[in-house]
């Protein structure tokens, strides 16, 4: 999960671009600083089937590992 989490963080424009992040059943929902830094290709390489953008709200649809990946992302964000 850590590898995937790191890849998703990269696809979202890096740690500094992520304001908050939570996992649902199939989606990682994030608020980003700059949506232009979000790279769909990187996210799809990490396993995303689709990326939805609504302003600074980004939803990465990635399947039922979404919650586990988001939990790992938040650990990385906290420096754990």
């Amino acid at each position: 999960m850590r590898d995937k989490a790191l890849k998703v963080i990269e696809g979202l424009g890096g740690l500094s671009n992520i304001k908050d992040c939570e996992g649902c059943i199939t989606r990682i929902r994030c608020t980003v600083v700059d949506p232009k830094l979000v790279n769909d290709k990187t996210l799809k390489a990490a396993g995303a089937v689709a990326v939805m953008k609504m302003g600074t709200g980004i939803q990465v649809i990635i399947g039922t590992y979404a919650d586990l990946i988001a939990t790992e992302m938040n650990k990385i964000r906290k420096g754990q």
């Binding site: 939570e22 649902c24 059943i25």
Partner: protein
């Protein structure tokens, strides 16, 4: 050909997936299925299987049965309720029986928070060769009793 019948996980009115007020579900990005607008706040297992995922807040779960993954999501955007109004009646990893209560939730609390109670049931890994039969739109289904979706694998 094996046939898998998925029972309605909620009691309520059948809503076509295209009418779910959420683009990801409506466009079937995760998969095909149906939604129910529940008239009672109880979610049951649509089929016997493994409760593979049960999100922290209790508003969504995924079952695995016969190689299929079935996602049941109570309401829309309900992740933001952070579990408020949801009571888990089973836990991730449990082997559950069709009709077994999985989650109890407060429909009024979902509405009061401004979210839709429409609840999608999604087959996330349906093979292209499978045949899916759906209950009629607007029909009334009873949780754990009436068939909602039939899959011929």
């Amino acid at each position: 050909m094996p046939t898998l019948t998925l029972l309605a996980p909620f009691t309520g009115r059948v809503v076509p997936m295209e009418q779910v007020p959420d683009a990801v579900f409506a466009q079937k990005i995760v998969g095909d299925g149906l939604a129910i607008d529940p008239s009672a706040g109880l979610g049951v297992a649509p089929v016997s299987g493994d409760l593979a995922v049960f999100v922290g807040g209790g508003h969504a779960f995924a079952l695995r049965a016969e190689g299929l993954e079935i996602i049941v999501h109570a309401g829309i955007d309900t992740v933001k309720l952070e579990g408020k109004g949801f009571e888990k009646l089973a836990k991730a990893g449990d082997r559950v029986a069709a009709g077994q209560p999985i989650v109890r939730f407060d429909l009024a609390a979902i509405r009061a928070a401004g979210y839709s109670t429409i609840s999608p049931i999604v087959l996330s890994n349906l093979p292209a060769s499978a045949r899916l039969t759906k209950a009629a739109a607007d029909s009334h289904v009873r949780a754990g009793i009436d068939p909602l979706l039939t899959v011929e694998l």
